[in-house]
Amino acid sequence: MKTLTLYLLSGPYTSQCTDIACELAQKALEKGYRVNLFLYIDGVHAPKKGQRTTKFPNVEERLKKLVQEGLSIKACVRCASARGYVEGEAPEPETDTFPTTQYIEGASITEIYAFPSWIKESDKVISLGG
């Protein structure tokens, strides 16, 4: 199975990058790829619970659906902590992820090293929002 890793640096609703990332993820999943989404800088806002949009596509709902279809989502702890998503000082020993109640199920907060680790496993890497 081929692997695609997406790297998203901008937040939802400020540019189209999040929607493009979702679209790429969906198409790649349909084609049988394993798909990873790593969130960095303002990209860490994407999996926040409780998004209520009026005109724009709801990123939270889109990501929930993609997670059910197999998308893996990780967010950088340094970026997520600065923006108030990390609720604790240390990673949980079983998962090596940092605690949060603010993200949708299937999205986790990790050290930045998860990103180069995903790069090494990938056939393609696409960065968006830089």
Partner: protein, 119 residues
């Protein structure tokens, strides 16, 4: 599988978080034994100016310090045309940052650009 990564910094430091993000990612990539090249282009070349002191003026970490963590294990290039456009030259840069001409940069992308991450 990807074994090389190019960190392409196009944003000036301090005004946005991107340049820091790129260099932190470069450091993490080296820690996981990915071959890593850092390329500064456009306003990204300002990251490599020597004698920065952002701690005093802005209260931000000085981005030049991150280059010192990188230079023994990664090539760091600043695009020559971007430097010229901004009135800058090699003597303005941190000593181990190398100016690179466009065609040489193209070769870097061809050789190492299995993953190109832009900031």
């Amino acid at each position: 599988m990807v074994g090389f990564v190019v960190i392409l910094v196009t944003s000036a430091p301090y005004g946005r978080e991107n340049a820091y993000g790129g260099l932190y990612t470069a450091i993490a990539s080296l820690e996981l034994d990915l071959r890593t090249v850092v390329v500064l282009t456009g306003d990204g070349v300002y990251s490599a100016l020597k004698d920065q002191s952002a701690e005093k003026s802005l209260g931000y970490p000085t981005i030049g310090d991150l280059f010192h963590l990188l230079h023994s294990r990664a090539k760091i290039y600043a695009e020559s045309s971007s430097l010229k456009e901004r009135g800058l030259g090699k003597t303005d840069l941190i000593e181990f940052v190398e100016p690179i001409e466009d065609m040489e940069l193209f070769e870097v992308f061809v050789k190492y650009g299995e993953a190109i991450i832009t900031y």
